[in-house]
């Protein structure tokens, strides 16, 4: 049996192990920077996880190829299941077990659950996928490299009202993301001279929307705005169209995923998204787009861009800290972000505000036949 003294000796020896493992600063410097991803890698939203990860992976390859950092980066992936519970458990594991100092996250509910854990551990969380309006300024260690839904709705409302789409009916998932979007929708359309005439909450797991289609037809709105995510969006579009809802469909950027592009009924759907000019001449964007097309034989989507930018942002901040001789940790990364503010990212110069939120212009796009998308405003 091990006595109290034995335990103390063991603890002392254990604490000495790191010093034995890295006897000099040069070797210590070789230990990798631990980064993490907290994406849905299974379930109905796994499609997002793949899209997010692909963007981050390309940035890791570019950072390594450019030898931007003195130490390598190791990326640990944890499945968030796209649920707040999965977010909290995953974030605890990333900061307590893997000691991740910088974690990429998506989905509003996941972000809100993980943020307090990141705050306590002083680990940075960077969101490039969730667009719930209340993600702005969630904690000092939570940043957004994606414009949030309130910005998207603020852009859409005056345009829609000018086009005669004044009476809006909303269908939204009853979670922090959907509730935040509908709240923004009501205030933005009210300011623009329109009105949200009906709002129908749905569960994230709902599959049947024929009854909601009947209610929508009875309300006779000018347009139907739906805020959902993942494969459920395809079912909403298909079933509303199949059940006689002929009004204009509107959505935030969450609809910009391959399964919706492939759906014939998505033709005519209008949505908002961050501006992404893949023909931009700036070298960062050009390299990203060229390498993306060479690897995947298609254009990237904004989510790819965001998570590429999230990793690139880390490399730029960590590189600056290395040059200053400062340790790369959450606190110093945050101080460096606030000191520097603007960074050369994909899409142009990314400028961050006091909350750590990027500002990007929002455009309005429309699905055409065959899943093609055109910018209409």
């Amino acid at each position: 049996m091990i006595g109290r003294r034995g335990l103390m000796i063991g603890a002392t020896m254990a604490s000495a192990i790191p010093a034995l493992t890295y006897p000099d600063p040069a070797q210590a410097a070789a230990s990798p920077y631990m980064l993490g991803t907290l994406f849905p890698m299974s379930g109905p939203n796994a499609e997002y996880g793949e899209i997010f990860t692909a963007g981050a992976d390309m940035a890791l390859a570019h950072v390594a190829a450019d030898k931007m950092l003195r130490r390598p980066i190791v990326m640990k992936a944890v499945d968030s299941l796209a649920t707040p519970q999965g977010g909290a458990i995953g974030m605890s594991r990333l900061v307590n077990v893997d000691r991740a100092i910088y974690v990429l996250v998506g989905f509003t509910g996941v972000s809100k659950a993980a943020a307090p854990i990141g705050m306590r551990a002083k680990s940075i969380l960077v969101n490039g996928g969730g667009i719930g309006p209340d993600l702005a300024g969630l904690t000092p260690y939570f940043w957004n490299v994606i414009p949030l839904a309130n910005k998207e709705v603020e852009r859409l409302a005056p345009w829609a009202v000018a086009k005669g789409l004044k009476r809006i009916a909303a269908v939204y998932v009853d979670d922090p993301y959907g509730i935040g979007v509908v709240s923004s929708l009501k205030s933005s359309f009210s300011k623009a001279g329109g009105k949200v005439v009906a709002a129908y909450p749905i569960s994230p797991t709902d599959q049947e929307f024929a009854a909601i289609a009947a209610k929508l037809r009875a309300v006779k709105p000018d347009a139907v705005y739906f805020a959902s995510y993942g494969a459920q969006q395809s079912e909403i579009i298909k079933q509303l169209r199949n059940n006689g809802v002929t009004q204009q469909l509107l959505s935030p950027s969450s609809v910009d995923i391959p399964s919706v592009h492939a759906l014939p009924q998505s033709k005519g759907l209008i949505y908002t998204a961050q501006s992404a000019d893949w023909n931009s001449p700036d070298p960062v964007t050009r390299r990203f787009v060229q390498d993306w097309k060479a690897k995947y034989h298609k254009d990237p989507v904004p989510y790819n861009q965001n998570y590429y930018n999230a990793v690139l942002l880390f490399a730029l901040l960590a590189s600056a800290l290395e040059k200053q001789g400062k340790p790369v940790n959450g606190e110093n990364l945050r101080n460096q972000l606030l000191a520097q503010r603007s960074f050369p990212l994909v899409g142009g110069t990314g400028v961050f505000d006091d909350n750590g939120d990027i500002s990007l212009p929002i455009v309005i796009k429309q699905f055409q036949a065959g899943g093609k998308v055109v910018k209409i405003a």
Binding site: A46, R217, A218, E235, K238, N242, N243
Partner: protein, 289 residues
């Protein structure tokens, strides 16, 4: 017209519930086995249909393959799960846990084989057309109605007028009496599982076309089927059919009064009402204490 539209949507949903619930009722009525894995048969049949259709098989052949998958699953459960358990202790909970465990395994198999997202079938049959001003009906509604009516009619004739059908009805009452008439209770048990499993196939195919499938759909379908069986009267096939129809209509009509998120809960509110006010269900026999 909203009311009529919701009734139509409710009937379509209810017909799918009725078929699955009737399958469960036949199995439970004949064997007294609480076959929770009927939901897994539904999911497996739906995926078999979707995948074989996507591979280029014509609808009738894909549907036939789905029937083969569902029946093989049901009969396999009877032979290799329930029968060994019954040979030893046959406790209700052992059967229930085994059946539930197989449901989880089937769900995991589907997830590994076909992914965890929604899969759906694009067909013009789900495209609704106006029947009356403000009332939209899709061809799939008439198909569901015709298929359900034909199957229930065939089932009624089979149970009432054939030797095997009468044997199935008698199986739960007196297996010894069956033997004296030269009928094999184990063969009838297999037959009950085969028919019960096959009955969930039309519902699975129509669900794949109307709302799409996901690996965990079996659990949802089974819950509704159980509720329909209790509402209709345990062991009664016609009761299960009426129960399924009633729950489908209640689910859809509830949104005229309640928030849209309450539609699923509406089915269980109806169930609780029956448990409290009419525990034997619509067509069940009153039990004496």
């Amino acid at each position: 017209m909203l009311f009529a539209q919701l009734v139509v949507a409710g009937i379509q949903t209810g017909l799918l519930y009725a078929l699955t619930a009737a399958g469960f009722a036949i199995i439970f009525g004949a064997t007294r086995i609480f076959h929770v894995a009927q939901g897994a048969a539904f999911a497996l049949a739906g995926y078999a249909f979707l995948m074989s259709n996507a591979a280029g098989l014509a609808w009738p052949l894909a549907a036939l393959l789905a029937v083969v998958v569902a029946v093989a699953f049901g009969v396999g459960m009877e032979r290799w799960v329930y029968r060994p358990i019954q040979r030893h202790e046959a406790s209700f909970f052992t059967v229930f846990v085994a059946s539930f465990g197989v449901t989880i395994i089937a769900q995991s198999l589907i997830e590994v084989s076909f992914g965890r997202g929604f899969v759906t079938l694009s067909t013009p049959l789900t495209q609704a057309r106006p029947l009356l001003p403000g009332l939209y009906v899709a061809p799939v509604f008439w198909i569901a109605l015709a298929v359900t009516a034909a199957l229930f009619l065939g089932l009624a004739v089979f149970l009432r007028f054939t030797r095997a059908g009468i044997g199935l009805r008698a199986l739960s009452e007196s297996p010894e009496l069956l033997r004296s008439y030269g009928l094999s209770s184990s063969r009838l048990s297999v037959l009950a599982f085969a028919i019960g499993s096959a009955l969930c196939v039309p519902g699975a195919i129509l669900t794949a076309a109307v709302t799409g499938l996901q690996p965990s759909i079996g659990a949802h379908v089974m819950l509704i089927s159980l509720a329909a069986t209790i509402v209709g009267g345990i062991g009664s096939v016609s009761g299960a059919a009426c129960g399924g129809l009633l729950l489908g209509i209640a689910e859809n009509l509830s949104i005229t009064l309640l928030n849209t998120q309450w539609s699923e809960a509406a089915s269980f509110i109806v169930l609780f009402a029956f448990i409290l006010l009419r525990p034997r269900g619509l067509f069940g026999l009153a039990s004496t204490r």
